[in-house]
C-alpha cells in the first residue's frame, strides 16, 4: 500500500480539461517532484492534494485514507507557497505559530515548537520581525518553518525557489535536500526547473498538458526517457535528437545518419529487438551530450564506443566542460569534451559516440522504441 496514492485524477474547469487522468504512487519518505512546462497542470495537482482545488474525477489517498472530501485543514498537510504567503501583520513567530494557534495548541507548547523550528532553520534572531523586514531567503525560511512546525504527514512545495536569485536558489536547494534527509519527511514538490527536479527528487513525475509522461527515479527518467518530450525536457544542455534511418549492414543493425560529407553508421546495441522491426524506417535518435566525447575521455569500461571524424562547427567553453557543436542529420549536435586543447572550428576532429546510451524514438508518435524486457525501463504507472 503506497503512502500517497493519486488515482486516475481528473480536473476540469468548465470546458477545459486540465488534468487527464493522472496516476502516481509514492512511499513514505519519498521526495516526489512534479516537473513540466508551465500550464502542464502540476500546480493544479498540488492544489488538489492540498484541498484548495476540488477533484473532478478520481481519488486521492493519504496513508490509506481517502481525502477527496476532507477540508484542507483536516488533511494533515502543510504547504510552502511560491510567494511564501507570510501574514504581513504578524511577526515571524506569529506566522510560524498561527497554524498551532488555530489547532488550539496552548501558548507554552506553541512557544517551544516555534523555538525548535527556528533553531532548525537558524532564524531564532528573526522571530520578532515582520515579514516586510526580511530578505527573500529569510522569508523562504519562515515559510518553511510555518510548514515544519505542524509536523504534518505530507509537505507540499509550490515552486518555492523561483523567487530567489540564482545563488541563493542553489543554497536553499541544498538545504531543502538536507532537511528532507534529516527529517525523513514525505514531500511533493512542484517546479519547472529540471535541474531542481534532478537534484532533489527520489521520484520524478514529468508532466505535459495534463498528462503524466513518465514517473521514475531521476536517473531512470534521465537515461531511459519514455518519449521525445521527456528526453528533450530533462537535462541541460538537452539531449541531442537526430533524425536517422535503421538499416542492416553485414548482419548487424545500424543507424544511418546523414552528415555533410558522408553517411555515418552507428551500431545499434540498445533495444536491438524492438529496432529490428524498424529496418529501413526513419527514427529519431537521442544521445546525451556527455555520450559524445573526444576519444580520450570516452567511457570504455561500461560503454560501447564508436569513433568518427566530423567537422567542428562551433566551440563553447563553459570552464568545467567544452561543448563542441557539429552537424548530424541536418541538426546541431552538442558534444561534451575535455577543456584544455579545444579543436578549431571549421577543422575535422575525432568524436567518440557511446552507442550503449543511444535511445530511439518513433518520429510520428514520439514514443520510445524499446525492448519489452529492457533493463531499467520505467513504464508509465511504475511504483516501487
Amino acid at each position: 500500500m503506497s503512502f500517497l496514492h493519486i488515482h486516475h485524477v481528473h480536473k476540469r474547469f468548465g470546458e477545459t480539461h486540465v488534468l487527464k487522468g493522472v496516476d502516481i504512487e509514492i512511499e513514505k519518505g519519498d521526495f516526489l517532484v512534479l516537473v513540466g512546462p508551465s500550464g502542464c497542470g502540476k500546480s493544479t495537482l498540488l492544489n488538489m492534494i492540498a484541498g484548495l482545488d476540488s477533484i473532478s474525477e478520481g481519488e486521492l489517498r493519504l496513508d490509506g485514507q481517502r481525502i477527496n472530501e476532507l477540508h484542507p485543514s483536516k488533511r494533515d498537510i502543510a504547504m510552502v507557497f511560491q510567494s511564501y504567503a507570510l501574514y504581513p501583520s504578524m511577526t515571524v513567530a506569529g506566522n510560524i505559530g498561527f497554524g498551532l494557534e488555530m489547532r488550539k495548541v496552548p501558548r507554552a507548547g506553541r512557544r517551544a515548537a516555534i523555538q525548535r523550528v527556528a533553531e532548525l532553520l537558524q532564524i531564532e534572531n528573526l522571530l520578532k520581525r515582520k515579514p516586510a523586514q526580511l530578505s527573500g531567503g529569510q522569508r523562504q525560511r519562515v515559510a518553511m518553518g510555518r510548514a515544519l512546525v505542524r509536523d504534518p504527514q505530507l509537505f507540499l512545495f509550490d515552486e518555492p525557489l523561483s523567487n530567489l536569485d540564482a545563488k541563493l536558489r542553489v543554497d536553499m536547494r541544498t538545504e531543502i535536500k538536507q532537511l528532507h534527509q534529516r527529517l525523513g519527511t514525505t514531500i511533493v514538490y512542484v517546479t519547472h526547473d529540471q535541474i531542481e527536479a534532478m537534484t532533489l527528487a527520489t521520484r520524478i513525475a514529468v508532466m505535459r498538458a495534463g498528462e503524466l509522461q513518465q514517473l521514475g527515479t531521476p536517473q531512470s527518467v534521465y537515461d531511459d526517457p519514455n518519449n521525445l518530450f521527456v528526453a528533450g525536457f530533462m537535462g541541460s544542455p538537452s539531449m541531442n535528437l537526430v533524425p536517422a534511418r535503421i538499416a542492416e549492414k553485414a548482419g548487424a543493425l545500424v543507424a544511418l545518419i546523414e552528415t555533410e560529407k558522408a553517411t555515418l553508421a552507428l551500431p545499434i546495441v540498445r533495444d536491438r529487438q524492438a529496432l529490428t522491426d524498424w529496418c529501413d524506417k526513419a527514427v529519431m535518435l537521442g544521445l546525451r551530450p556527455e555520450a559524445i566525447t573526444d576519444p580520450a575521455s570516452a567511457n570504455r569500461d561500461g560503454g560501447e564506443i564508436f569513433e568518427a571524424d566530423l567537422e567542428v562547427d562551433l566551440v563553447e567553453p563553459t570552464g568545467a566542460d567544452l561543448y563542441v557543436v557539429t552537424r548530424l542529420g541536418g541538426t546541431n549536435v552538442n558534444a561534451r569534451m575535455r577543456p584544455g586543447s579545444p579543436p578549431q572550428s571549421g577543422t575535422q576532429t575525432r568524436f567518440a559516440f557511446d552507442v550503449s546510451r543511444m535511445v530511439a524514438f518513433d518520429p510520428d508518435s514520439e514514443a520510445r522504441i524499446r525492448d519489452r524486457a529492457s533493463v531499467g525501463s520505467a513504464p508509465l504507472a511504475s511504483s516501487a
Binding site: N47, A50, G51, L52, P72, S73, I77, A78, M79, F81, Q82, S83, A85, Y87, P88, S89, M90, F98, G99, M102, R103, R146, R150
Partner: protein, 297 residues
Amino acid sequence: MSVATSARAASSPGRRITLGRAILYALLLFFAVLYLLPLYVMLTTSFKPLAEIHQGNMLALPEQWTFAPWREAWGSACIGLECSGVHGYFFNSIKIVVPAVLISGLLGAFNGYVLTKWKFRGHKIVFGLILFSCFIPFQIILLPMARVLGILHLANSTSGLVLVHIVYGIGFTTLFFRNYYANFPDELVRAAQLDGAGFFTIFFRILLPASVPIIVVTIIWQFTNVWNDFLFGVSFASGDSAPITVALNNLVNSSTGVKAYNVNMAAAMVAAVPTLLVYILAGKYFLRGLMSGSVKG
C-alpha cells in the same frame, strides 16, 4: 509616487529657478491665498466684537480679541426658540457619525472580502449593483426612505439617520475595500486555510490588520460625507435630534434683529473643525490608500 519624485526633484541641489517656475509658484500662491481667504475671514470675524464688524473692514485683524462669540455659539445662541447654542447638535452629529462610519466601514470591508476572496456565481453582478448605489442622487430616495423610517419607527431620530447613512455608505466602502482586496494575494487566504483558519478568522486576523491604508481612506470619506450631510439631516431629523449642519442653518436663520455675524462664524467653525481634524490627522494615509486601491491593478 509622483509626489515623492517631484519632492526629490525640487530638493536636488543645483536646480535653478527659471522664469517659468517663478510664474508657476506665483500662480500657486495666488490660488492658495484665494482658497484660504474665506477661512481667514471666518476666523477673524469670529474673534471680533460686533461693533468692529460693523465698521466694515472684513480683512482687518481684530483690534480687540474676544472669545465671547465662540462661547455664545457653543452655549447660548438661540436656535429657533431654544437658546442653548449648538453644543447639543454637535453631540448629535457625533452620535450619528461614529456608528455610521464604523458600521458602514465594517460592512464594506466584509463585502470586499467576500467579493474578492470567496467569489460566488454572479459576484460581478452583485458588485455592479452595489456600485450602482454610488450613483443614486440623494433627492430620489427622500420619500421612499421617509416611508421606510416611518415603518421602522425611526423617523425623527438619530438612529434613523445612522441607518440612512450606513445604507448610503455601503456602496462606497464596498468599492474601496473590494479594490484593495483585489490586490491582496490569494495565496495568503489559502495558506491560512491550510493553517486551519476559518472564514471569519481569516478576515479578522489576516486581512483586516493589513488594511490600515484603506481603513483610513474609508474613515475620512465616510466621516466627511456623514458629518457634512445636510439634506438627510433636515429631512429625517428635526428639532432636538438634528445634526449640527441643520442647527447651523437654523441658527443663521433665527434672526433676532441684528445679524450676529461673529456668532455665526464661530458656529460654522465649530461645525467644520472635526472634518478638518480628521484630514490633518489621517490625511497622509489618504493619498497612499487611494493609490494602493486604484493604481496598481
